[in-house]
């Protein structure tokens, strides 16, 4: 039974970290009927040592926080769904020569779809997370702390879900979040070291996940040539999945100017390198587009971001078909990478609070459109 004297029930996705713990605590303070849930998403098995974000310890931390807050806590096993929707796609994207962002798909499918079903089952009006982003009147905005903003990972959430999302720490800085944790006595999590890695990638080495899923003979981990843009073989690599566009590490030296990965061609198992100028794109094409606002018309001025923490640049929408968009960038942008996200923010000038803050939508980058159209950026 939902107590009638509260603001309604909210299911809080709790990782055991400080952000989602504080999110839950703030909602309790605000009078919500909070139910905590920790999703068990993957299991390394016995071969990988404990890591703070995946082990039973994080479940225990989340439970301790809920005990402290006096709210129920549950563990939900979403391993199968997560394995299919997130981990498998992650591995497949690398096989296609792309650089995926599993967090986007986890938010889209796991947190704000699968977990939402649990919310329905328990009569929870809303679902809350510890993301640094803000939701107002069914619209998504960047987190107030620009250095922590996580909207880049949230563009895939279904638009109608926004009205059921609560993001209580989106208006705080990380330091404020930690301060709230200490004020509320959540010592367990207040000073926890932040994990920057992808949660299911042990030691930050994603090739282990590929190997575990596809075996030692995964083509994306096989030896292949390093080519220049004009097709000269200048070296060998031991797996194109170890590379991403813009990378320098792992490339041979001895060139007149610094060389970067500019493309990956899985059909030839080739990593293509070129000088910095070859990395620059003047446009970008994205697919699997999801809109979180009324879709802008062709010709609309927006701002776009092509990497987490990259600066958003002004852009013009030049094409919008079913599920696919193309944008012309007002200035060249380096290392536009297939598989990463393209996120569109409200554009224009002036002091409209939406400008650069409101998320209009996003998609998965298919290709950069370069000054040199012949750039082999398109994945096979």
């Amino acid at each position: 039974m939902i107590p009638s004297d509260t603001k309604g029930r909210v299911l809080v996705a709790m990782s055991g970290g400080v952000d989602s713990s504080v999110a839950a605590a703030l909602l309790v303070e605000q009078g919500y009927d909070v139910v905590g849930a920790t999703m068990k998403l993957f299991c390394y098995g016995d071969d990988v040592p404990d890591r703070p974000c995946c082990s039973l310890d994080s479940i225990n931390d989340a439970r301790r926080v809920c005990e402290r807050l006096g709210v129920p806590h549950y563990v939900l096993n979403l391993e199968d769904r997560f394995g299919h929707d997130v981990v498998r796609d992650f591995v497949d994207e690398y096989a296609r020569g792309r650089t995926p962002i599993p967090c986007v798909r986890c938010n889209t499918f796991t947190k704000f779809r699968d977990l939402l079903r649990t919310a329905d089952l328990v009569d929870a009006d809303s679902i809350a997370t510890g993301h640094y982003a803000r939701v107002r009147d069914g619209a998504l905005y960047r987190g107030l702390d620009p250095s922590k903003d996580q909207t880049y990972f949230l563009w895939g959430v279904e638009r109608r879900v926004l009205r059921r999302m609560l993001l209580p720490v989106g208006g705080l800085t990380k330091a404020e979040t930690r301060a709230v944790a200490r004020r509320l006595g959540l010592a367990v999590v207040a000073d926890k070291v932040e994990s920057q890695d992808i949660c299911f990638v042990p030691d930050g080495d994603h090739t282990k996940v590929i190997r575990r899923t596809l075996g030692d003979d995964a083509p994306s981990l096989a030896r292949g040539p390093i080519l220049t843009l004009d097709g000269r073989v200048v070296g060998e690599h031991d797996g194109h999945a170890r590379f991403t566009v813009g990378q320098r590490r792992g490339l041979p030296g001895g060139f007149a100017e610094p060389m970067y990965v500019v493309a990956i061609r899985p059909s030839e198992r080739a990593v293509v390198v070129g000088p910095r100028e070859a990395l620059l794109g003047r446009g970008v094409v994205a697919r699997e587009v999801n809109w979180l606002a009324e879709p802008p018309a062709v010709g609309a001025e927006v701002r776009v971001q092509v990497r987490h923490r990259a600066r958003a640049v002004p852009a013009t929408l030049v094409r919008a078909d079913a599920g696919e968009v193309e944008l012309a960038l007002a200035e060249p942008v380096a290392a536009i990478t297939p598989g990463q996200s393209l996120v569109l923010y409200a554009g224009g000038e002036g002091d409209d609070e939406d400008v650069g803050q409101r998320v209009l939508g996003g998609g998965v980058i298919e290709a950069a459109v370069g000054a040199r159209r012949s750039l082999p950026v398109l994945a096979a």
């Binding site: 139910v35 129920p72 549950y74 096993n77 499918f109 779809r113 089952l121 328990v122």
Partner: protein, 389 residues
């Protein structure tokens, strides 16, 4: 409208301590604090209480007092039985340890441990209805220890322990049964059933958590798990917990005194609960329904509904149940018991165990019987919403 009181349907996980048990323990937290190994009057008083507890618990099992060892609970008793008997034997011509894939983890992990010490682990087959058998003649002359639980903790299925124990005896093997869920639910008497070792747990009977016993038939060699003093003939060194020994004994006696009436009452409650669930959710599956079952457990799967989510929803409505064994919480994997019975993993993942007991009234059953189908309906609606893309 005030929320109705919560309903506890998880008696297979644990039961409340009986008031009589609390009262019986009380003196040992007060004036009778002595150490039973001391020779003075405080020690003698404690020793007398412990001796009496041992005699009375032995009587509950049809055993002799020296055949009862008090332990810290079911897990210790299971480990002492399986590993103790395996280690005491050390016979190269008897290397097999026989058990079943539906045992409690305390037995399975002990068998695993014995295997690491050189035993050949041999698991008996299980039918789709959850009954263990020995059609292949696995219990034969090379078996050191055989351990088969009497009543399964997840399904309530009663195993053919008397037949299997007789077989083990004929083969010269030591036979252990985990009777944690069986005591008070089926007729347990070691004079009639040729078991050599038998596990009891206090907190399933209305005693506190942390006390159990192991019946050890005279002549059964057992290597101790702990090393220390000579308490309990060296089988279980460590200062005896007199209060808990008394608690277990009082709880066991009360359980037996009410066994017949409780069997009838719990059967009615369980059947009513199952009936209501099946009426409201016609495609629900009751695991082990075709087998002889103890009266307190029902294990139900609803195809297409996630069991963990259903439990969460039940709990938020004030109804306590569990998915399989309470010991698995925090690790919501499909039940190894159901998987061993050949239940599809997706159906196993939807299983919910409801167990009736001391706190259960017809009103509880009525409420849950009405609520369960409603929540299933909701869970199905949520699942049918389909993927966004």
């Amino acid at each position: 409208m005030p929320a109705p009181p919560p309903v506890y349907l998880d008696h297979a996980a644990t039961t409340p301590v009986r008031p009589e048990v609390r009262a019986a323990m009380e003196p040992f937290y007060g004036p009778q604090f002595g150490n039973p190994s001391s020779a003075h009057r405080w020690g003698r008083a404690a020793r007398a209480a412990l001796d009496e507890a041992r005699e009375r618990l032995a009587a509950c099992l049809g055993a002799r007092p020296d055949e009862v060892a008090f332990t810290s609970g079911g897990t210790e008793s299971d480990n002492l039985a399986v590993l103790g008997a395996w280690r005491a034997r050390r016979d190269p011509s008897r290397r097999a340890v026989v058990s079943t894939p539906v045992e409690h983890k305390a037995v399975l992990a002990a068998v695993h441990c014995a295997a690491a010490e050189g035993a050949e682990a041999r698991l008996l087959p299980v039918s789709g209805d959850g009954v263990v058998g020995d059609a292949d003649g696995a219990i034969r002359g090379d078996v050191a220890v055989c351990s088969v639980m009497w009543v399964n903790n997840e399904t309530g299925v009663v195993q053919p322990v008397p037949a299997l124990a007789a077989r083990a005896r004929a083969a010269g093997a030591v036979f252990h049964t985990d009777a944690v869920q069986a005591f008070g639910k089926v007729h347990v008497d070691v004079r009639e059933t040729p078991v050599d070792l038998l596990t009891l747990s206090g907190h399933k009977l209305g005693a506190p958590k942390g006390v159990g016993a192991l019946y050890v038939r005279r002549g059964t060699a057992l290597a101790p798990l702990f090393h220390g003093g000579a308490q309990d003939r060296g089988r279980r060194p460590g200062t005896e917990n007199v209060a808990y020994a008394v608690a277990l004994t009082v709880a066991a006696e009360m359980t037996l005194a009410e066994a017949e009436a409780e069997h009838a009452r719990l059967s009615r409650l369980r059947d009513a609960l199952e009936g209501a669930i099946l009426a409201g959710v016609p495609n629900a599956v009751v695991h082990g329904a075709a087998s002889a079952r103890a009266p307190h457990v029902t294990n139900v799967s609803v195809p297409g509904v996630d069991g963990a989510a259903l439990l969460l929803a039940l709990d938020l409505h004030g109804v306590a149940a569990s998915g399989g064994s309470a010991c698995q919480t925090g690790n919501p994997e499909p039940s190894h018991v159901l998987l061993a019975m050949g239940v599809e993993p997706s159906l196993a993942a939807s299983a919910v165990r409801l167990s009736v007991g001391a706190l259960t009234t017809p009103a509880c059953v009525e409420r849950v019987g009405a609520l369960f189908p409603r929540l299933v309906e909701k869970a199905r609606a949520a699942a049918a919403a389909g993927p966004v893309w």
